[in-house]
């Protein structure tokens, strides 16, 4: 409680002079402001989000009542005013970043893992574990538009959906963990979704689409390699890339599954976490030639390129989750290793990458680092912070 109170006071102290959204009482702002430097920090233990701004590096407000945020992810409306927060418990909450109010909320599943927003910004799609499948919602009203169950096999069981991403044409691509399949659902006519299925590798656990929307790459837990679908030539089917990267060696235990997203792409290459090996795998897009394997501290979780692609930042699974390493992409090697705090769960770069925000769950802090010098610029109190999401995601395919 002490922490929450102090952060409340800190929050309120920032707000008052700025005459912005008030911390927890939140009357609407009288002063116009843009949203391009806003973001949200998930406070997962308390089911709250903080609204932050990255220009002055401050907290603006806190919004409560979002349910179980133990695995929360966020997408933004195309005007970057609203954050759509997908909670573990199936809650989908639309948060108005300017008024710090909940603008809509539905409980859409029993167990959910995240979501995506369509190219035109009108359709939200949730990816669900229970019941396994995707659901589409009107981004304005949160009205249910369509449900596509992830049914597979002879008995009609439903698979957990992972690795959902938006594609051009209001299509969405995702993978089925138990079924080893990649599916593409076309929601251009949301009342009549059309789905195509592609056989993929064993146990896809997450996936990414490249920023141009062309290549979909699914990480596999059940085999050495990744499944790649060229969405410009889907008729070619799924191809295995980096086959046998484990070289038949015994895999090390994985205490947290890595996360994949378009941030893996830098300079025409993908930087991918190996599973069960303490390496970052570097592969050239298109030729799928292995460029390098970069030894790192432990099992990588987030392998995230700075927006300019010059650096790739890596955090790690328990029990090495206090570490962070930085790869130089011209040299394909680690140039910095440091321990910014306890239980580093996530990081997010500012839109042009001069700074990175890092959540240190067990220190109850969000840390801001200068990416060129790897030096701390400041910190904000946050209760058990996990995901950090900036509005610049609104304009990126696959985010």
């Amino acid at each position: 409680m002490r922490l929450r109170l102090s952060s409340f006071i800190r929050c309120a102290a920032w707000i008052a002079p700025l005459a912005l959204v008030a911390a927890c009482a939140t009357p609407p702002s009288a002063v116009p402001r843009g949203t391009g430097d806003l973001g949200v920090v998930i406070e997962r233990a308390t089911g709250q989000v903080q609204i932050i701004e990255t220009s002055g590096r401050s907290a603006l407000a806190r919004v409560s009542g979002l349910g179980d945020l133990s695995h929360a992810s966020v997408v933004f409306s195309r005007d970057s005013r609203y954050a759509y927060v997908f909670g573990r418990d199936g809650g989908l909450t639309k948060v108005d970043l300017l008024t710090a109010r909940i603008a809509g909320r539905v409980l859409q599943a029993g167990n959910s893992i995240g979501g995506a927003i369509s190219q035109d910004g009108r359709i939200l799609v949730a990816q669900n574990y229970v019941p396994g499948g995707i659901k589409a919602f009107d981004a304005d009203t949160l009205e249910l538009l369509a449900e596509v169950p992830a049914t597979w096999g002879a008995d009609g069981q439903r698979a957990k959906v992972v690795g959902l991403a938006d594609l051009p044409g209001n299509r969405f691509v995702y993978s089925l963990f138990e079924a080893g399949e990649i599916r593409v659902t076309d929601l251009s006519d949301p009342k009549h979704p059309r789905t195509e299925r592609y056989a993929a590798g064993k146990q896809p656990y997450d996936a990414l689409v490249t920023p141009d929307g062309r290549y979909y790459i699914a990480g596999l837990f059940g085999e050495d390699g990744l499944s790649m679908l060229d969405l410009w030539r889907p008729q070619d089917g799924v191809r295995t890339i980096l086959p046998g990267y484990g070289r038949g060696e015994q895999a090390l235990p994985v205490y947290k599954m890595p996360h994949l997203r378009g941030w893996a792409i830098a300079g025409g290459r993908a930087y991918l976490p190996a599973i069960g090996r303490h390496e970052v795998l570097v592969v050239e897009l298109g030729s799928w030639r292995e460029v390098a394997r970069i030894p790192v501290k432990s099992q990588p979780v987030f392998v995230m390129a700075r927006p300019d692609g010059r650096q790739v930042w890596v955090n790690f699974a328990f029990p090495d989750n206090g570490w962070m390493q930085v790869i130089d992409t011209t040299e394909q090697r680690v140039i910095d290793s440091f321990q910014p705090g306890r239980a580093i769960l996530h990081m997010e770069f500012t839109p042009k990458g001069e700074a990175v925000w890092i959540s240190a769950r067990d220190d109850n802090k969000v840390l801001v680092y200068d990416t060129a010098r790897r030096a701390p610029l400041g910190e904000l109190p946050a209760a058990s912070p996990s995901g950090i999401f900036f509005t610049s995601r609104a304009f990126r395919t696959g985010f």
Binding site: R44, A45, D68, S70, H71, R88, D89, N111, I113, Y129, V130, K160, V162, F177, K202, Q203, Y205, F221, G222, E223, D224, G246, Q250, A251, L252, P253, V254, Y255, K256, M257, I275, G276, F318, P319, D320, Q339, R342, A343, R361, D362, D363, S384
Partner: protein
């Protein structure tokens, strides 16, 4: 391919990685260690099983979901992992008596997280 993940033997390297290395002591864990274990289960096991333990990529660990399963099998799953699934072995990170204590708490209804232990001195 399927059984490649998680052999029962974990590299000995892992043993030294926890702030409080697991002891061979058969006694149940004491107060501070219990708090660390509750935090570990809620937060780190929670990344697959959910903070509320209602399940995620991994199955639910609520009492109703576990009641039918033999206690020894649950302890063995924690210590040895489940080959062919994402469940990793915690041998080297948790002592047998600690895994037993965790299973007993899970069967009873797991305690709420009291937060992490106090911060260790900062390392350069």
């Amino acid at each position: 391919m399927f059984g490649r993940r998680y052999p029962h033997v974990v590299a000995a390297v892992l043993a030294g990685m926890l702030a409080q290395p697991a002891a061979a002591d058969p006694a149940p864990p004491g107060g501070e260690r219990q708090r660390a274990l509750v935090h570990l289960v809620r937060q780190d096991c929670g990344s697959c099983h959910g903070l509320t333990l209602q399940g995620g990529l991994g199955p639910a660990l609520l009492p109703g979901a576990l009641r039918e399963r033999p206690r020894a099998g649950l302890v063995a799953t924690i210590i040895g992992g489940r080959p062919g699934t994402p469940m990793p072995p915690f041998r080297g990170l948790l002592a047998e008596a600690e895994a037993e204590w965790i299973v007993d708490q899970l069967l009873r209804g797991f305690p709420e997280d009291g937060g992490p232990l106090a911060a260790a001195p900062a390392q350069p």
